[in-house]
Amino acid sequence: MKQKLWLKLLLIAAGIGFLYPMFWMVLTSLKGKSEFYVNPFGLPKEWVFTNFGEALASLDILKYSLNSVIYTFGTCLITLLFGSMLAYCITRMKFRFSRQAMFYMSVGLVIPIQVVMIPLYMMVMKMGLKGSRLSLILPYSAFQLASTVLMISAFLATLPGELEEAAAIDGCNVYQAFFKIILRVIKPAVLTRGVFIFISIWNEFAIAQVLGNTEKLRPIPVALQSFFLSVGVSHWGLIGAAVVMTSLPSVLIYCLGNKQIENALTAGAVLK
């Protein structure tokens, strides 16, 4: 029993340890400029709420959030649609090259997206995608495709083969069968994957920093970095306010959909 208590305390401490930095940021955002240096970690002696307004004045959070939303949902849509179609084709259609296709896609698992940022950058600009949000959505989708196809394929492989036969008897063609029946059946896998893509793309920094580092295209993480660099912030109250406000969407989603996020993040491993 004694050992159990020790275990409990340790685990709870670890859990809180993961949350603490964000809590500290919230406290910081409520401190004045000079108080912070004197009292960086305690509760604010004087509660200041002006930091949020000031940070908002120089960081157009709404605009950058909209960018992030567009990238995230655009990527989800393209990846999930193309991914489940390809996975379906590989696992269930009589596709002569399905094994090769699977191997080919697994290249995407091995190569981190950042490695090809130089040619990707040159290419995207030359393709006439310059200044368009597709210049981020398409590479994102392509790189998310590999794991998506693998995961949905694994799910599809567990389904009984009679599904299509039944559909064919009902007079469906393959397209109807896919969109009306298969998609509905694989919905849990697709949704789980969607949550995963959402988290990855919402926070994506490496590629956006290179491909989307213009005023118009910046998603939240890149905008935040350029806020830290260019507005010239030595005022940690402002830093805290910006961090808190920009993390709010993820934090809210995290609190509301904790279970789904857990499923999404672990799904890849368990299915393998």
């Binding site: 685990l11 993961f18 596709f95 490695v115 392509a142 790189f143 397209y175």
Partner: protein, 293 residues
């Protein structure tokens, strides 16, 4: 079924995904390879230079330093972060559901934050003047250990690695836990009869049965740590000097700061080969026998 799965349907289903993947993942490696043999300023090629870019790289100490840093981080993630996650997961399995819920809520939290936020938080934690670590050290009378963590070339890589690993330790732990949960109860019942304690039961039963998940986590952590560059960019910009550059940061620096895109691409080509070799090694060394429950 051949009438059902027409050739046209197969094509229509396979084409969009394969095309997208080819254009944005596979194709860029071709210009990458070509540019690595040129002198290129980003706007235009100024001529073919043969193997010069590669020779320059192999002779430059920064390139090797970047490799040391990268594989140091990989090592930390495999030999420090991973065992910690596994241990936490084993402990998680032995505790009450309420504690489990509290821990899980915290553990996954860092994985939904962006690298910019994580980087800034940890820069604060490491601040030499008022940062959390130095304040704590001074508080317990270890003033001598307090130092400027991010500008000391000896500590900077470990510090950035810690921030990076902190973000994923919880996630890995939850992954392991999901694997543990999938192990049927009767395996443990046998162990209890044998009188095996926590550690013996873990080493004898749990860990061998977790092989698949461990393999998955090892692959993902290794490739993830190898590709780390955003945390460095946000926290230290590769500094002090070039002390904390990773291979990919060096690629970024060569191309975008020094306008030597040829050498940048050469680094990328070498790195792609490394990634493939590493994943092959992992695949071979952790055998893929299916586990029979």
């Amino acid at each position: 079924m051949n009438r059902f799965f027409t050739k046209r349907a197969v094509f229509l289903f396979a084409f969009p995904g394969l095309a997208l993947f080819t254009v944005f993942v596979v194709f860029p490696m071709i210009p990458q390879l070509l540019i690595s043999f040129q002198s290129h300023n980003g706007a235009e090629s100024t001529g073919w230079v043969g193997w010069d870019n590669y020779k320059n790289l192999l002779q430059s100490s920064v390139f090797w330093k970047a490799h040391r840093n990268t594989y140091f981080i990989v090592g930390c993630s495999l030999f420090i972060a991973l065992p910690i996650s596994l241990l936490l997961a084993l402990m998680l399995d032995r505790t009450s559901p309420r504690v489990r819920a509290v821990f899980k809520f915290g553990a996954l939290f860092p994985s939904v934050l962006s690298v910019t936020v994580i980087g800034k938080m940890w820069t604060g934690i490491y601040d030499p003047d008022w940062g959390m670590i130095n304040s704590a050290l001074r508080g317990i009378g270890l003033e001598g250990l307090a130092q400027s963590w991010l500008t000391n070339p000896d500590t900077v890589v470990a510090c950035v690695a810690a921030a990076f690993l902190w973000q994923y330790i919880g996630l890995n732990c939850i992954l392991f836990y999901a694997g543990i949960k999938a192990i049927p109860e009767q395996y443990y019942e046998a162990a209890v009869v044998d009188g095996a304690g926590f550690f013996r039961a873990s080493v004898r039963i749990t860990i061998p049965l977790l092989k698949d998940i461990i393999k998955y986590v090892v692959i993902v952590s290794t490739l993830g740590s190898m590709g780390m560059y955003a945390h460095i960019l946000v926290m230290t910009a590769g500094g002090p000097g070039d002390a904390s550059r990773s291979v990919l940061y060096q690629m970024y620096y060569k191309a975008f700061s020094m306008s030597q895109f040829g050498e940048g691409c050469a680094i990328a080509v070498i790195f792609i080969v490394e990634c493939m070799i590493v994943s092959l090694i992992i695949n071979k060394s952790i055998a893929r026998e299916p586990i029979q429950y």
